[in-house]
Structures are given as structure tokens and as C-alpha cells.
């Protein structure tokens, strides 16, 4: 008799637990997906800035050279070729970033899908492309420490994650961890390089916009503008340092992904990352306005 009463309750509790568990993983996945989307947007903006700062540093140097010593087409081409190399590399990184973003969107589809086969096939194609581009990036000169990828092992997927999502994560979590690590390494190098490029631009702009007008025999016509320009240029270094810190913090997305796969709650980390992303976007915006 006792068993007859308790058996349906046990079943109901088991079903409820399964539902709650599934809902929890779906909810957590939504947060992870949100962080992934914002991360991808921020990285894209940072990559655009890396292109702009490189081109601007070349342009400022060409103008400085031209002011002091007339330039030839060969002089121009030397800088232009060097800029093109950087743009090619950044474009590969942007493609890698866009594929990673696509992967997380498909993962979200998979988490809420009743017929996952098509999504699974699409994920396979995306990850293959991601891995191909990732491989060329890992071989590129932007990765300073190539040994960091050797220590990345397969994660054990949490029992909280179920169904097609679990199957997918079990299959490819190591690949995704390698690709996220690739981006983290590239972020470190790029943010430092952007900081260097910004310093180069700042010095050349100070000469062009502040010192040259001051050295002219005629007094500066618009003194207020001159003061504002000088102030902006001399404080740009602080913004560049903020950029370096905020962009390096983006690298935490890899740890958030790992926490999700292994079933650890990462709400605090996700919130911190979202704040870092906002900071980064605001610094990039400030730098774009100053450019």
C-alpha cells in the first residue's frame, strides 16, 4: 500500500527534477549565449580598431615624412604593403570570430530543438571551417606562446546538460576550448600592439597638430581648439591603457565556457564579463571619437 502511494510521487519528483535541471541548463545556456554574442561584437570592434590604428600610424608617418622630405610612390607602397599584411591577418581573425559566434548561435538552437539533426550537421560544417582558420592563426606570428594549446584536454560534460546539447559538447568541447584559447592569446597580443600603435599616432599627431602650429611665426589662430587638441592627445595614453586591460579581460569567456560545460555556476563571471565588455566598447568609442 505504502509503495502504491509513494511510487507516483517518486515518478513525479523525478520528472520535475529532470525538467528543472533541463530548464536550468537552458537558462544558463541563454546567459552564456548572451555573453558569447556580446563577446563576439566586442572582439569585432577591437579588430576593427586594430586595422584603423595600424593604417593611421602609417598615414601619420607618411605625412610627417612628406612635410619634411617629399615622398615618392615607392615610399607610399612600402607602408601600404605593410598595412595590407596586417589587414589580411585581421580579416582572418574576423572570420574566425564570426564562425565562433555562429557556433554559439547554433548551440542555442540545439538546446531548444526537438529535431536537432539539421543543426548538428550545420555545427559540423561551422566547426570544420573554424578549425581550419584557427589552425592558420595558431601558426601565425601573433601567437607568442604556441605551447599553450598542448595542455588543453577534453572536459567532462556536466550531468545537468542533456540531450543533443550534451552530445555536441561531448564531441567538440576540446576543439572549442582550443579556438577560444586562440582568441584569448590573440587578444593579449593585439591589445598590446594597438596600445603601441596609439602611442605612435599620438606622438605624430602632437607634432602635426600641436607643435608645428606653435613653431610657426604666426600666432595660433584658434587657441581654444589648440588647447583642447593638446589635452586630448596627452590624455590618450590613459585610454590606451584602459583598452589593454579591458580587452585582456575578454579572455575570461574561455573560463566561462569551461564552467558551463563542467556544470559550475558562472553567473558572477558572466556578469563581470558583460561589464568588461561594456567598458571595452566605451573605450573603443572614445578612441574612435579622438581619431
Amino acid at each position: 500500500m505504502k509503495n502504491k502511494i509513494h511510487f507516483p510521487i517518486i515518478i513525479a519528483v523525478a520528472i520535475a527534477t529532470t525538467c528543472l535541471s533541463a530548464c536550468r541548463s537552458t537558462d544558463e545556456y541563454k546567459k552564456l549565449a548572451q555573453a558569447g554574442t556580446n563577446y563576439s561584437k566586442a572582439l569585432n570592434q577591437l579588430l576593427d580598431l586594430a586595422v584603423v590604428t595600424r593604417i593611421d600610424e602609417s598615414s601619420e608617418e607618411l605625412l610627417l615624412q612628406d612635410r619634411e622630405n617629399n615622398q615618392t610612390s615607392d615610399d607610399y607602397n612600402e607602408f601600404s604593403d605593410s598595412d595590407s599584411n596586417r589587414i589580411d591577418l585581421i580579416n582572418r581573425l574576423k572570420k574566425h570570430n564570426s564562425l565562433l559566434s555562429k557556433y554559439f548561435k547554433l548551440l542555442q538552437d540545439l538546446a531548444g530543438s526537438d529535431a536537432p539533426e539539421r543543426t548538428q550537421t550545420a555545427i559540423g560544417g561551422v566547426v570544420d571551417n573554424l578549425n581550419t582558420i584557427g589552425q592558420t592563426l595558431r601558426e601565425s606570428n601573433l601567437i607568442e606562446n604556441k605551447e599553450v594549446f598542448q595542455g588543453i584536454g577534453k572536459l567532462i560534460v556536466s550531468s545537468k546538460i542533456r540531450g543533443a546539447l550534451k552530445e555536441e559538447l561531448q564531441k567538440r568541447n576540446q576543439t572549442i576550448m582550443v579556438e577560444l584559447k586562440t582568441q584569448q592569446e590573440l587578444l593579449n597580443v593585439l591589445s598590446t600592439q594597438i596600445k603601441g600603435d596609439l602611442k605612435g599616432i599620438q606622438d605624430r599627431q602632437e607634432l602635426r597638430l600641436v607643435i608645428n602650429p606653435l613653431l610657426q611665426p604666426t600666432p595660433i589662430a584658434d587657441e581654444d581648439t589648440w588647447i583642447a587638441t593638446r589635452r586630448e592627445l596627452l590624455t590618450q595614453e590613459l585610454t590606451a591603457a584602459e583598452l589593454e586591460n579591458a580587452s585582456q579581460a575578454l579572455g575570461d569567456f574561455q573560463n566561462i565556457f569551461q564552467d558551463f560545460v563542467e556544470g559550475r555556476s558562472s553567473s558572477g563571471r558572466i556578469n563581470a564579463l558583460l561589464t568588461d565588455i561594456e567598458d571595452l566598447l566605451s573605450v573603443i568609442e572614445t578612441l574612435k571619437t579622438k581619431e
Partner: protein, 127 residues
């Protein structure tokens, strides 16, 4: 055999990264307003056009050489970088000292040109 080659290239890559970091740090002093104005002021006084043009050329070549070293595939520069690494390291250290002192502009120019010369030899066959 393959692992020996990979290990060697990783080692050379680390050397390149260290030298690139030093070149980047030194470029901050080379590009600085202080250095530019020192050369410019001397040019206005001594009217030595050759020295002034050498300085402008050196500024430009330094950036382009550094970028070539950055962009080169490691396999294409490994042998030369290993061979010339010691010279490059001491060349950059001297340049850093000279730029910090910024006393004798001819010595500064010679030191910049020495660094550019070494990097140019390293990236000569770069792909």
C-alpha cells in the same frame, strides 16, 4: 625529428618575440617628440641636410623593418635570427641608451642604422 624542428622553431619564435618587444619599446623613444625636436633643432642650426634626411629615413626604415620581422614566417628567418640574435640584442640595448641620453645625434643615427641593418639581414629571405 619533427618534434625537434617544432621545438627549435618555438625557441626561435620566443627569441623573435623578445626582440620585437624591445624594438617596440625603443620605437617609443625613437618616435618621441623629444627626439624629433632634437634633430630638427640641430638641422635648423647646422643646416646639415644629409644628417636630417638620414634621420627621417631611419625613422621610416625602423618601423618597416620591425613590421617585416613581425610578419615573417618563422621558418624563413629562423637560421639568420639565431645567428644574429646576439648582435640584435646588444644593438637594441645600445640604441635604447643613446636615445635616453640623446646627446650626440650622429652616434644616435649610427646606432639606429646598425639595428636596421641587422634586422634587414634577418628578414632578407623572409616570406
Amino acid at each position: 625529428m619533427t618534434s625537434i624542428i617544432i621545438s627549435r622553431l618555438t625557441n626561435v619564435d620566443n627569441i623573435r618575440n623578445n626582440r620585437l618587444r624591445e624594438l617596440e619599446e625603443t620605437q617609443v623613444d625613437l618616435d618621441s617628440v623629444r627626439t624629433f625636436l632634437k634633430f630638427k633643432k640641430e638641422f635648423e642650426i647646422d643646416k646639415d641636410e644629409v644628417k636630417w634626411k638620414r634621420y627621417l629615413e631611419a625613422r621610416k626604415d625602423y618601423i618597416l623593418c620591425k613590421r617585416k620581422l613581425q610578419d615573417a614566417s618563422i621558418g624563413s628567418i629562423a637560421e639568420r635570427l639565431e645567428k644574429l640574435n646576439g648582435d640584435l640584442e646588444s644593438g637594441i640595448a645600445n640604441l635604447k641608451k643613446e636615445l635616453a641620453k640623446l646627446e650626440n645625434t650622429i652616434t644616435v643615427l649610427q646606432t639606429i642604422e646598425r639595428v636596421i641593418g641587422i634586422v634587414s639581414r634577418i628578414v632578407l629571405l623572409a616570406r
